[in-house]
Amino acid sequence: MISSVRRSAFRAGMFVLSLVLIAGLWEFYKFVGPQDGGQLFGMRILPRANSQAMPHVWDMLSRYGRPEIRGSDRKVWSVVLAGAWFSLRLSSAGFILGASIGVGLAVLMARYRVVERGLLPYLVLSQTVPLIALAPLVVSWGGKLQIAGFEWPRWLSAAVLGAFLAFFPVSVGTLKGLTSVPSSSLELMNSYAASWRQTLIKLRFPAAVPFMVPAFKLAASGSVIGVVVAEISTGLKGGIGRLVIEYAREATADPAKVFTAVFGAAALGLVMAAIVAAADVMLMRNRPKETTI
């Protein structure tokens, strides 16, 4: 137990160190790089190193402490935090929705081979196709669509997109796990004259957990991506994506501000991943430590 805590601390330390090194590289480029951008191999691929395009790392961090807009009382960090929190709630909703449907569909596919044969190819292919292209369309439903008196709120589109991206890895991974049961265990359950439902609950699901864990990780990042893309493609108010776009537009006047939102979006992803990782640890307790992903 102690060694695993030490290992986590070590990895966290390495992570911080790598961030420090990146900051160092950033400042180094600012020091030696061409102020107005430059050419390499005849192409303009060297970015501008002046303070307007590349603010100092310290400027980025200190920007959090200053007011968001000149004359406003709200500090940047509180605005970014509120935006990240908004998006976190949407991502969680999307994750839960997408994962639930994914698990349900996986059970259906495990039960009925013909459903698996019919749907699985599409599910696998869908992960290779930029379904995120649908984002603007789904978001455009907001404020316009009415179903039986229920008006589709714009934020629901973001959650639905998050759910959409979370759904695919969960359904594929859960199916893989449900059908990965060794024959002898199935024979054992048969010898007890167990029903399909009993076999599902007592054998297939527990056996599927090690496969669902990496699928949940993918779903977590998918739900964040879906929500953030929905927010940025049409500026959904309240979310971190909108802040990134807004601050990017003001980048000429206030170069450090956009970084505050970018870091906020990164924090969003990390928090979501941490929540799912904690759930994964809970699910995999009492299991042999054979797989590390």
């Binding site: 390495m14 930029p130 964040v224 893309v229």
Partner: protein, 259 residues
């Protein structure tokens, strides 16, 4: 097993596909759904062929960004992986960072990159794709170079083989399938990243920008056609990566029995 015949593998997905499209078409017509909600597949196909020229142009722009980023990212990833496999400390340093980046919507960096280049440049998007592909390829190929059967290494040492000989004869061959697996993952991700990067402003010539502009002009059917074009682009990239993978691998991978 007779149940794994060609027919049993092709017919169900075909039936489901046709059924889904028919249902879509039917629901839109029967409920007379407004075009801003769902466009029927029939209209989408018409729009696709009507706008084929512009769609192809936009796809070429996005596709080029994805391809350049894919190639450059893969090359740098492979090169760096050699260094990573050689110096354990480097891999310990990079690995938590790579894990963290996997969880993060890294494409928001495009907002920053756009500011560092001229406004009409496609370079920020290419850099974004390069970055994303780089980490995918780096992690996987490094794994392939280091996770070698210990018995293979012991055998080579018993021949007093040098480190570089071990690299050439054992590690690199072991890493080749990992490279192609990573490309299989990275190819669609490259397309998605190139795509999403277009939402942050900058040049408006790619597929992503066209979709938003069509929606803004209430031309939803055309927008769907561009979405279809984007999916085709993604499929093309994925197919190429699959072809590369099967060309490189001799002999099939063992398949686990489905219970």
């Amino acid at each position: 097993m007779s149940t794994d015949s060609f027919a049993s593998r092709v017919i169900p997905p075909a039936v489901f596909g046709v059924g889904f499209l028919s249902l879509w078409e039917g629901v839109v017509r029967v409920f007379d759904l407004k075009p801003y909600f769902l466009t029927p597949p029939s209209k989408i196909i018409v729009q696709f062929f009507t706008n084929f020229g512009p769609i192809r142009e936009a796809a070429t722009v996005s596709g080029k960004n994805a391809l350049i980023g894919l190639i450059v990212g893969a090359v740098f990833g492979v090169l760096m992986s050699f260094t990573l496999s050689r110096f354990r400390f480097l891999s310990q340093l990079i690995s938590p960072l790579a894990v963290a980046l996997n969880a993060v919507p890294i494409f928001v960096l495009v907002a920053v990159l756009n500011n560092m280049f001229s406004i009409t440049s496609e370079i920020p998007r290419r850099i974004m794709v390069t970055l994303v592909v780089y980490f995918i390829v780096l992690v996987n190929v490094a794994k392939g170079l280091t996770q070698v059967h210990s018995t293979h290494i012991e055998l080579m040492r018993s021949y007093a083989a040098s480190d570089s000989a071990i690299l050439r004869k054992v590690r690199i061959p072991n890493a080749v399938p990992y490279l192609f697996t990573s490309l299989k993952i990275a190819a669609p991700v490259a397309v998605i990243t190139a795509f999403v990067s277009e939402y942050f402003g900058g040049s408006q010539n790619g597929l992503g920008s066209r979709i938003t502009s069509n929606i803004a002009n209430s031309k939803n059917a055309a927008a769907w056609a561009y979405v279809f074009g984007a999916c085709l682009l993604g499929l093309i990239f994925y197919s190429i990566s699959i072809v590369l993978e099967s060309a490189a691998s001799r002999g099939g991978a063992a398949t686990k029995k489905r219970n």
